[in-house]
Symmetry: D3
Subunit: 190 residues, 6 copies
């Protein structure tokens, strides 16, 4: 039985009918990634919200930070694993594979990060990400202290929290709209 | 024992040392609200992320939408109730009181929305908000169908999902940074 | 939309038709509190059970104990927060505000006690109350030891357990009967 | 390894040092049951609270009600099963065996009531008891409607709620004080 | 109301129509136990699967192991308690009573093992069994270390894991087929 | 950081020191699969238990059944997804890819089966598998009725239950022993 090929449960605008700035983004995605991530197309239902989402995302995942891009992607996948978000696990699992050159690491982040061999810093980050996702009201000072004990400074704690928080947003948009990831992700960087 | 008066568990920059655009926002807040919401001051730890957060927030909560501002605030509070986020319950609980002129409604949204007298449309929105927050991986087509049956169209479903998703982000930032709300909220619109 | 003004999902007897001793209690409530708490009116469906409930309540919350009245009310609210009981959160949240003179403390107990500044003794009591409410079968000797380490003696442990247990009873009666609190509570002691 | 023979984790007063009315109760228990239930001895730590507990219990479990005594005991055991309360499962499991003359029924109530052959009325009562115990905040009008559809009237709903609520109290006292049931229960009515 | 006397929700073959080897097993059960355990009769729906189940069971529960037969039965009952499996609680609860000569110990294992007086080794085994049953994905090296600290060696850890795993299988077969235990178990070894 | 390359947290016997029948199995695996599944090597810690495990597995997953081999593997992966078992997700996820020729289907089963396009029969089977894994005590006659309504007969229900039960066993052995899957699985059938 063929798997679903919709992008969103809501209507998805034709790219040609979108504003020039968004078309330019799509074109840049095609050039750099070979695809336009379906999350962008699903969000283009409301172009201004797409712009805001991309601005936040770009700063968060691609901007300057003492968290490496790989670390940020690992956190993104662990949050998405806790929430069981298919879209983000597929798209960001591929990012972990690409950035780490380690296909197994991507699988571990998606399926159960506890089996991975991690540095104490990474493990502390991912434990914090899991807890802040699953039982946020139980996050208190000892949880921040555990991050500090693993070497994270204030700026790193801020950026970690921000990635966790953001993927709790984007996971829920993906569920609410039944977003399906681009099929290309599956075969990349295996 | 005096209650905590910190704004964040991380350092909070002096307003005077922030960029002019952010100082201008603070000033506008003082004029309109009589206070600078502590979430802004906590986020000013990373000024660019503050800007992105505000841009997204303003579109989401104050921009055009077929969801009324009160409905959006009700959703914000119900998400924060599910997550037990003190900051957002205090700040947005006040917003529900102010916009509805109904102090009890604010309390009901914060404590247990199921006791409130709600229209079928409102009840459907809040049930969706609760489920998307607490068990997002169980949100499927029947959940969207329930919204449609209650009269929501595609644009309203998008905006509803967006508010739910956003407060799942902001609740987690509040927990991660132990943000405390401005004390003024407590006494307003009772 | 006006909020619900019923007292109970079951019929509520007219005060004038109740026995004299209960009418006398109602009158005393009017004199002291300016209202007859709706929980009494809801329970008057079965007058003898109302009497037993009041006798237990009065000993528990107003009788001699090394737990202060404020401490007992804080515990009552934290139990009700764990259970999300609107009636008890509104009625006993007001009691915390009144006894502490601290409106924020009442909000913190109702919304998430972990954000409050508490003495180690108070924190230990509230942690015990939460656990005994949410996962009672996991309460074991180390939990009593934690209370003792925070300075509670046997009599205090007994009284603490008793308050936690009682509000697990009264929360459930409130849910089962859909009891609504007197509206006056909302505005008192803000 | 011999099993525990304590009555409570807190001190238990010598019967001879208790007030005459409580000694009289103990004597009556010996005459009728052949034992003094350990819950009474544990509660005698605070004699007035023992009196209030007994008064409430006697009305609830032994007083007039359209719920039969067996039905009330079945509800008591199902609540205690949800909470995994050893004391109440042993003591009230025996009561179900005695009142029903059906040892298996007692085991089913204690271990998993869903396997028992029950009338629709009984099943509705026990489903309500389970839900009000485990997820009280989700009890709403449809839950009361299900009871009514199974034939319960207002008075029966009140009494059912009261039994569920009371055992949520007594289970928690048993956990908090680590009460152990009298060994005699184990062998009775098998 | 008479309790259910079915063996399985699926058809149960007449013993006389089963292969000779299975009939021989039934006969041996009658001789040794005075009954044919209903789990065997339910499984005889698929004779080869019954054979495999018995082979695994016999090695696991009756074969050589440094875990005593009583310890294995205690683990079986605690797993079944976590899962609330009526069949296995009744059948293996009786086994604990028989092997220990302690009827209370059987009840404790079935209702809440935390109340029992246990050696540190037993407590560690049962804590591991509970966790591996309820939150298997959280079992990590510290959990094995706790077993080692309580004196278990590699072979004992293997056998413990195997018993826990097996009863997570058999509990689920019992639920899926609604298996009812032989009534004789209830009265044995009280 | 290189990922773990252990097979089990317990010692793993050298193949050359195992009995001839097990060595023959290993050789057959090498011929057919190009690898000896690590689960066999981990289980060879106790050779007789390995034999029993393989006998059960072969009947269950490879024997005659009206459930196709693909359906059985889909069930295996969904159970392992509910339990978050890395070993089984990797090994049986590959089996779904191989048997279906659909790499995305394997990912969907592992990450969140609810996003897949499934026949009503498949969806019913996977919903049953999830529920029997996560809340087995809530499986009752309506759950079997849903399978029958989707076209499953008694034999299919038996075999479905058996696969669900078995992977609840094998997932727990994998967690208890920290089994790591053969790395070859990751790259196969992408």
């Amino acid at each position: 039985m063929p798997q679903p090929d919709h992008i969103s449960a809501l209507p998805v605008p034709e790219p040609a009918r979108l504003d020039a700035d968004i078309q330019a983004v799509y074109q840049k995605c095609m050039e750099k990634l070979g695809l336009v991530p379906n999350v962008l197309r699903a969000y283009s239902f409301h172009p201004q919200k797409l712009r805001n989402f991309m601005t936040m995302y770009n700063e968060l995942m691609l901007g300057d930070s003492k968290l490496s891009k790989l670390e940020r992607e690992m956190v993104a996948v662990v949050v998405s694993s806790a929430n069981r978000c298919y879209y983000c696990l597929v798209a960001h699992g591929q990012a972990v594979r690409r950035l780490s050159g380690d296909a197994e690491l991507g699988e571990m982040m998606a399926l159960n990060y506890r089996v991975a061999t991690l540095s104490p810093r990474q493990r502390a980050m991912l434990d914090f990400a899991w807890k802040l996702t699953v039982t946020p009201h139980q996050v208190e000072e000892p949880d921040r202290a555990a991050l500090r004990a693993a070497g994270l400074d204030d700026a790193e704690i801020f950026d970690l929290a921000d990635v966790v928080a953001f993927f709790n947003l984007s996971n829920r948009m993906a569920f609410a709209l039944d977003m399906m990831p681009n099929r290309e992700y599956h075969r990349l960087d295996r």
